[in-house]
Every structure is written in structure tokens, then in C-alpha cells.
Symmetry: C2
Subunit: 501 residues, 2 copies
Amino acid sequence: MSTPPSSTNAAYDRLVARFGRIGAIGEAAGILSWDASAMMPPGGGAARGEQLAALAGIRHDLLVAPEVAEDLAAASAEGAWEAANLRLMRHAHRRATALPTSLVEAIARANSNCEKVWRIAKRDADFAKVRPLLEEVVRLAREEAQAYGAALGLSPYDALMDGYQPGVTAADVDPVFAAYESWLAEALPKAEAIQAARGPAMPLTGPFPVAKQRDLCAAMAATVGLDFAHARLDESLHPFCGGNPSDVRITTFYDEQNVAKALLGVLHETGHAMYERGLPAGFARQPVGEAAGMAAHESQSLIVEMQACRSNAFLEFLGRKLHAAFGGDPTPYQAANLARLWRKVERGFIRVDADEMTYPAHVILRFRLERALIEGGLEVADLPAAWNEGLQGLLGITPPDDALGCLQDIHWHDGAFGYFPSYTLGAMAAAQLMAALRRAEPDLDAQLAAGDMAPMMRWLNQAVHAQGARLGFQDLLRHATGKSLDPADFTAHLSARYLVD
Amino acid sequence: MSTPPSSTNAAYDRLVARFGRIGAIGEAAGILSWDASAMMPPGGGAARGEQLAALAGIRHDLLVAPEVAEDLAAASAEGAWEAANLRLMRHAHRRATALPTSLVEAIARANSNCEKVWRIAKRDADFAKVRPLLEEVVRLAREEAQAYGAALGLSPYDALMDGYQPGVTAADVDPVFAAYESWLAEALPKAEAIQAARGPAMPLTGPFPVAKQRDLCAAMAATVGLDFAHARLDESLHPFCGGNPSDVRITTFYDEQNVAKALLGVLHETGHAMYERGLPAGFARQPVGEAAGMAAHESQSLIVEMQACRSNAFLEFLGRKLHAAFGGDPTPYQAANLARLWRKVERGFIRVDADEMTYPAHVILRFRLERALIEGGLEVADLPAAWNEGLQGLLGITPPDDALGCLQDIHWHDGAFGYFPSYTLGAMAAAQLMAALRRAEPDLDAQLAAGDMAPMMRWLNQAVHAQGARLGFQDLLRHATGKSLDPADFTAHLSARYLVD
């Protein structure tokens, strides 16, 4: 389908060579970052910092060199893929040249200072400690948003979102999130009542030896379709998916007492990994050969983990595999019990521990607060109170302290504004893609119950993976499902899973 | 002792920043190369090639940029270390600018083509298959040697040696090798007679479980002084030492039936690793902060493996550790038996299998042949006959085919001429350093018998490691031992070890 970039346009060809080099350096940095988390001895950290800084500096230099602007002005591209590639090159160049070096350096310094103090403030549940540093981060993020916005013709907050998920704006997100808030206000008490009436789940009793967990996780990743001739599974404190499309590396963290953590985590990361593996190889290391953004990426991890692997059908298969691996009483491994264990709705303070129904509430809260922080209307001093009020409104609970409130996430304290919506856009897109997939594959549940994910992954490959970054978020959804973001598929999914007695 | 580079000279400071970046990219490439051997899934190879090529290209671009020549012309440096650093920068720049790009590309292509066919020719013991490709490699290597020689004011072959071990020339090596040849002609039959009279060694009977071998190897590396907060020990097909001074990575290959292979190999690589660890941290990623060359590096692996760890004293300690790890009959683990097993003189065809007494003969053969190939006097067509005649003269044996003769090593078939002498220069330097160390540490044997390598490694650190690349090979030996290369220490070592009944 995708062919290697080719053009008789010399300027475009030079750009392809340059962006190929930039892409190769990005891949190198990706492996070094993976290594830092999964392999590096602790004493290697300072040198690794120098290595990554050198690569980042060189990437930037290659991107902003004067001849790039000339070639971008002169270049034309034949073919839709080449045209998209050129558009993305121009976009990357506009972003790279939008900020003066002095601002980039000030941001890096402020983020680094704030992030360090945030760890202490969070540990001590003491927002006052980090407040002045976060104020500086926000002040600079506003400058950054203005500068990106001016360069890209976007509003300041949209310009930050664009850095994580191009092709979707706050105007797209706002009504979708408002509708979800209304739906949740009615649905959540119903789900809780149904769950309470059902009674508690039987626990899975460990220990679950790490070696067996590792084998099972690798086998399940292979079931999803991961080819270990092009992939690794390792361990790190915080699980992630790194590497590059021909050499994708997922990590997890094994807990001998809790088999679900690594297993569901690996299925999640395998969804990310399959996206990377399926990107168009003919455009490797070119902008159009990359993934379409963070929300698109999250849609692929969540469609595997949440939509497919936590479905009743797949839990049948997974329960058999778990019991075969660990033995003992088969009763807790029955699909219905796994569903109770792994699909439990619960109002909580912590986003990363949230279930799929309440998770969007945590994101909606952050989206509204960060948008107000960037566009004005909220100051850092007022953040803790606004946070607590917002969570009370969304979930009816108030954090007892800021460690369980506005200090819980690293994002803002490291200068990342505009990222949070991606989580929920991804969850909604996953449901929307799953609904389209079910129309295309009427036998999907039978396939999942048999552990056959090949038809699903083939469909996702064509619909999403092989599209690379050719389409922005909304266009990708239109291509894959026939409509732009529609939260009705997500609420329908949740209703079927949590609101049926 | 060493302080961070500093100077009021703006040109020197710019060069330090630039070479720091070049050094960081080199470190990044080092980790990626390690990863390719020790971690990478096979499918990642093509992308890894793109990544390493991009990094090599950028290093080269940074080195040959026009402003480098200007800064090198303008720069002055305060202090001996800074002056040496500047000298090495000029040297690196001269080498990088010596070859026209067209020649660099032709060499890369010819080497790659030849190397591929060499694997088939070696498998088939059929020199004719690779001959035309090797002729092209040699033709280009002659051009390369001419160009480097003109840029550096060295003879063509010396200019190639300089790429691996600066500070030593063929004129230094030739008489040293000739003297060794004469010594060996007398010593080898004597050593063989003594060995024969002694009777065979008792074998160490496995299996030796890999997990236990791994623990023992790590413990022995730690005994030498390796700090695993700054190091890793992993597995790869061909053992090596990679990484960088604060994050050094050694690999080995475990054989359940043969414990010596991994154990002695790890001790060898640990010698390399200790050199890297001990390089002057104040000049990290600067030319003067690197090791002094390949012969200097080999001296550090061999002084640990051959001089210290195969000594009678250390074999006492090692035998106890081996028996403690694997149990069974203690008799074969006695030092005298380990000495018979691991210090066995044997005339063979294969360099990498050779003992320390006959190994130099293999190197002398290659040194003479490759010098004649580069400087004229030998053509590729005549190589197999010259090889066989040379080995007959040196060791009194003739290879039955070219796979056991001139096809056995990759070096020439991959364009590496001038490297081979480093092995034997390193072995000789190791003996010379050991003799000096014994004068400084009269209790060395008692220390080694107790597994206490700290005094030895402290001495080596001061004498060699902490000197970085400040001194060339001969100057480094003069600094550390009071004299330039003197093979008498090596033959004295061999005489004491092999010629005493």
C-alpha cells in the first residue's frame, strides 16, 4: 500500500533525506531511553543525560537549519502520502522554529526545577512547597502556548494539545466531555447499585511466581499478535512501550501477589506495540510514517486491553490460560469472576487507579483546569480549591489532601499541558473503533473466546496502524469508522458492560 | 588529578563543547552497538543500521565543519592536559579530513561486499571466491594509507596503525617481533618437552549450570574491582566490552560443559572494563579522556587475565571459588592442575585459540603480510602461499586449507589493516607493566592468592587508566615502567611460566 517516498522534486528529496536522519536520531534516542529505564546501571545516568541532550540538540539543529525553510518553500510532492509527509514536515518545522531558544531553555530549567520539588511536595502533601515553581512553569507555558498558537494559527491551548494529538481542538473536546459528565451523573449510581447487588468477587490467591508470569505475559502478547523477532518484553518500574516499529520494546513490573497488574499492563502495552509494528514501513523514520498522536496511540492500547481483553469472551480464554499457568482452584478463574475483579467501578481520588467509567471524570477535571490555567481564568494559587471543587462536582468526593488531589500527577509539574485529554479521547476512540470492528467482524466474540485476535488486529492494521500520521485524529476516526469522534459508542459500551444486571 | 577542561581561550572552549557533543554521540553509538549484540531482537537490525549510520554521519559532519579548522588554528590551551586534548583534537580533525568522501564511500562499499563473501569463502575453504573482492579492498586500503600518511606525515602502513594505536610505528614493532621469533624458535620446543614430561591435566567435569557460572563470573569481576553500579554483565555470541566509562558493559558466552571459557573471558573483559572505568572523569567525552589505543587496551585485559588471574597465586584463590560454586572432587580445582589446563602451549592454526606463547607468532605473520600488502611487495593472489610459508617458518606447521589459514580472520576482509600488532604489543606491555607492578608491590603474589586485587588495580589506575589518551603507546610505557616497549619482560614472564621444570 505505502511505497517508499519518491519524487522528482529535488527539494522534497533533500527533505526526505534530512527527516530520515532526524527520524533515525529519534529512534536512537528511543532505544537509549528504553535502556535507561530497563537496563542501565544507576551510575550511567549522568552520561546518559549528556547523550540524550546531544541527540536532542542535533535533532533540533537539523530541523531549524536555514536550508530547511528554503527546501520547504520550494518543495512539492507527488502522491497523497508524499503530500501528507511534506505537510507534516512543514508542521514540525513551524513548531521547532516557533519558540526562541531563550524560552526553550527557560522552560527546560523551570520544568526540571519544579519537577524535583514536586516529588517532595507530593510526598509531604504540601502544595505550598511547589506553588512558586509551578507558577513559573505556568507563566512560561502560557508564553509557549502563545508562541505556538501564533505560529500554527491555533488558540493557545489548542496549540499545546496539537503537540500531543494533532487534529483535535478544545472545541471538539468540550461538548463531548460535557455530555459525558451528564451521562456519568446518572450512570455511575446505577452501576454501583448493580455491582453491590452482585456481591464481592473471589480473590485470585497467589503467590504467582515471576517466571511463570513472564511466560504468560509473553504468550498473551504473542496471542495479540506481537512478533518477538521484532519485540522485547522487559521489566521497569513504570511500564511503557518504547523502541521503534521494527524493534518495539514493552516493559512491565511483576508483583508476586498480583497477577493482574503485569498481565493487563502487558496487554495494554501490546496494543501500543502493535500500532508501532503496523506503521507503514515504506515511510519508516519519515513524519508520515509515525503514529497519528497520543490519543490515537491510547485508542490502540485501550481497544486491546479494555475493549477486547476485558470482554466476557476473552476472559473465558484468559481464565483458562491463567489456571493452566498457576493451577489451584479453578473457580476464581471463571470469566464471570474475572469480570467482577477487573471491571469494578469505584469512585476514587487517583486517576491512574481509576476504572474505565470514572477515569474520564479525572481527565475532564484536568482538561478544564489546565485550559483555564493556560488561557487565563485560573491562577496556580487557586488550583487546590478548584481541583477539590471540580472532583466533588464530577464524582461527589473530595480529596483529604493535595497528594490525593492536585499533586498526584507529574504532568503539569513537568510542563506538560494539553496531554490529559488524550487519555479519554483514546478511550472513546477505542469504543468507536470497536463498534465499527464488530460491524465488520460479526463473529468477533467467538474469535476472542478462542483467543484468536488475528481478524481484529488485521482490521485495526488497515483502519489505523497502516495509516501512519497521514490523518489527524478526527480524520482518522472518519476514515476508520465513518464518523468523527462520537462518545455514544463509548457510553453504549459502558452501558452494556456496567448497567445491565 | 584531572580537572574539567577550562581555558580562557574562546576557540578552545568552543572545541571542547563540540568534541563533548561528538563524544556524547560516540557514547550513544556505543550503547546502541552493545544493544545490537546483547539485547536487540533480530528484526531490529536494519533500523539499527540506519541509526548508527546517522550517528556516524553526524559525528563526521561535526568533526569536519569549516569552523573546526578555524578554531583549531586559533586555539591555545593552558595546562598539559588541555594541550594534549587540543593536540588530539587536531589529530582527529586531520584524520577526518584526510580522505575524500568518494574514497570513504568506496571503502565502506568494498569492505561490506568483501565481508559478506568472505563468510562463504571461509565456510567453503575457497579463497578464490573472495579474492577479487579482497583485491579491491586492498587497492582501496593502499589509497587510504597513502592519504592518511600524507595528512599525518607517516608512512602508509604506520598511518593505518595510527588509527588503532597511536604512538607506535612499524619501525618500533619490527625488531621486537624479530627478536621474539628467534626466542620462540628455541623456547617453544623446550616448553613442549617440559609439558609432555609433566603428563596430562585432569579435566574439570561439568555440567556447570549457567546460573552458577553467571554468579561466579560476576563475583570474579567484582573481585577485580568492577562496580556493578556502573557496569553490566550480559551474554552475546562474541564476548566484548562496550558502553562508556560510567556505564561499562561486558558480555560473555556460557557453555555448560566448559566453565573456563566464560570465566577467563569475563576476567579478560573486566580488564578492559577497569581501564574504561578508570579514565579521567574530568575529561569525559573529550579526546584526552579516552583510552590510549587498542594495544594499551589489550595490555589491560591481558594483565588481568593472563598475568594476574592465570598466575599460580591467583589460581589458588580461583580454584577454591570454583570448587565452592560447583562442588564435586576438589582435586582438579587445585592450582597446579588449573595451570596445566589453562596454560597449555600448543602449535595450532587458529589465532583466537592460541596460547600466550604461540599467539605472537600468529600476529607476527599477519603484521608482515599486511605491511607487505599495503606497502607493496605482496599481492592478494600470493597471499595463501605466503601465509602458509610464513606459518611454517614461525610455528613449523602448514594449514591443510585456507579456512585454517588466510581466511580465518575477518579483519582484512573488512578492511582493517594495522590492527593485528595491537594484540601482541598489548601482551608485551602487560608483561612489562606486571614487572613494574611487582617492583612496586613486593607482596603481589600473597595479595593475588588471597583474591585481593585492589593494590594491583590501584597501581594500574595511576600508571595507565587515569592517564587517558594523554600519552601515546611508547610514552605511556615510559611513564608507567620507566622504559619504552621492551619484549624482555614478556619473554622473562614466559620463561618463568613455561620453561621451568
